[in-house]
Symmetry: C2
Subunit: 328 residues, 2 copies
């Protein structure tokens, strides 16, 4: 990819942005140079992760938040990455291009992009992080990444942000309890959406009580819990206020820098991991692995001996070309 | 770990089984030798993965299935690994030791063990697979592994089985749609549990219709869809019949062997991955990574250059000791 792509992105060219996001999804290895050039331009945006159980109304909330941001400051611009659980059958995002496009899709200053989770094992996090970098570099002041808050990778994606918003809705106990686990510790702001439903107040108290268990030192951010009804735009301005308050909180001392260092460390680890893993997923390696697995099954080699052989082979002859992210 | 541990496991010693499962969770590196010795003894059991959205009633179904297996053949024995989403706050499985213990916990021929997902990023799959091997080697004819069917690792665990059972329940459209994605392709048997609820028949048709989209060749297994009410033991015998039919199906030709080769290949890849990753998570490496991340943020190094440096360092001096699974 030549230099002009980079220039186009920096000037906010929507088509170039869309094309590059597709490229980082499908051929990340070919995008290294341009991503490296864009990186330093991607640091100005405020990154917001939005996550929560399926059905909690994340998309509607993101839409309402976007409308609110745009209304408050008409010159502002927003980028949205929505990670959709998807099916390998249909080869596409399950929920497709949603109704949401009607509300904010026509706004010139808003860019929405869905990314599918299909087949992206290990690579999804990298692709989502690249896509967020691209939107940030293209001049979006706010970049929101929306994921379903279940599953380790999915939760991690939302966590790699400056401000992580966790969205719940009041609902059947058991399922929500299960889904809540693992989300309570990552949120900087908690939202009880659909708070016009029965049980919202009890649920809010429940969330607050769980938050009390979080270890916190003096001066640490105290996560607020906000009630919203995204479909009615209720509570959205308050949510936006809390997001801005968290951004201001981060601006003191090294707080933002510390968060970003951690995010970059995750990015580097991800790149390293993908490079290392890619060597395990070549067709050639697949054949050898099959033979080795048969030897394990027939008792000629133990599982750990087999693993040792693979590592020796990887360490031995191969080139570790960065840019061969794992493909399946 | 000495030889006697292995002998104790093979003789079905419950305490030794429990201790070794704890060890593979906490110190997998120390269990290599014993796991290697047990492996060839772990191949006789029929492994059943049970997965589905939270609230679909998996635990109750597993319990009912266990009762049914035990009733049908009183000499049989069953091992159960339940993977619980858990919270780092409470440092334990969220749902804890459940009511289930009342029904089957006192049965001498049944072994139930909960494993928590906490902090096991990358390692959960390995620990669950080891635990299943231990139960199989201890003489359990049927080993069931139950996971929440959301999240990539969680789904993968259920998939590494001879027979994968996917459990749904009729419910609110949106949430279920989202959760269904990714589960439709992995099931060999589908269960609509809580089928006394409204909308069960429509949901069943919906699942069948989605299954029609699955590409299938002649002679391939045709996934049945079964209605159950686990709390009432309705449909459980039919489910057991289908599980046995699938086991018989696998016994023809190389079908079982092919499945197992694939599972072993996944195991080996997991071991290799954990070994490679462990070198990225030492405290020493953490410090170096932090410095490197700071250089990236200040623009001295690009992300990909940083990744290349880490790989060079890993490739360079270090010993690749198998047995240092990633620790966080």
């Amino acid at each position: 990819m030549d230099k002009t792509v980079c220039e186009k992105i920096l000037s906010g060219d929507k088509r170039a942005v869309a094309k590059l996001i597709t490229a980082v999804e499908n051929e990340p290895g070919k995008c290294e140079a341009v991503m490296d050039s864009l990186f330093s331009h991607s640091l100005a945006a405020h990154r917001i992760g939005i996550t929560g159980p399926p059905g909690s109304g994340k998309s509607t909330l993101v839409d309402a938040l976007t409308v609110s941001i745009r209304r408050k400051k008409p010159t502002s611009s927003v980028g949205i990455i929505a990670i959709d659980p998807s099916s390998p059958f249909t080869h596409g995002a399950l929920l497709g291009d949603r109704i949401r496009m009607k509300r904010i899709g026509l706004d010139e200053n808003v860019f929405i992009r869905s990314m599918a989770t299909r087949g992206a094992l290990g690579g999804l996090c990298a692709a989502a992080s690249d896509a967020a970098d691209i939107l940030a570099a293209s001049g979006k002041e706010v970049v929101m990444v929306e994921t379903v808050g279940v599953g380790q990778s999915e939760v991690e994606i939302a966590q790699i942000s400056d401000t992580c918003v966790v969205v719940f809705c009041p609902g059947t106990g058991d399922a929500i309890q299960t889904l809540k686990a693992g989300l309570m510790e990552i949120g900087e702001i908690f939202v009880i959406n659909k708070s016009d439903l029965e049980g919202a107040d009890r649920f809010l108290l429940d969330v607050r009580a769980t938050l009390e268990l979080r270890e916190r030192e003096k001066g640490d951010w105290e996560p607020p819990v906000i009630k919203t009804v995204a479909t009615e735009e209720q509570g959205i301005d308050e949510l936006l206020k809390e997001i801005e308050r968290h951004r201001d909180y981060l601006s003191f001392g090294d707080r933002l820098k510390d968060k970003r260092v951690e995010a970059v460390a995750k990015k580097i680890r991800g790149l390293v991991r993908n490079t290392l893993e890619s060597s395990l997923y070549t067709p050639d390696e697949g054949d050898q692995l099959r033979t080795l697995s048969e030897s394990v099954l027939s008792g000629k080699v133990t599982p750990h001996q087999a693993a040792r052989k693979v590592i020796e082979r990887i360490r031995g002859g191969r080139q570790w070309a960065i840019g061969n992210r794992m493909k399946r």
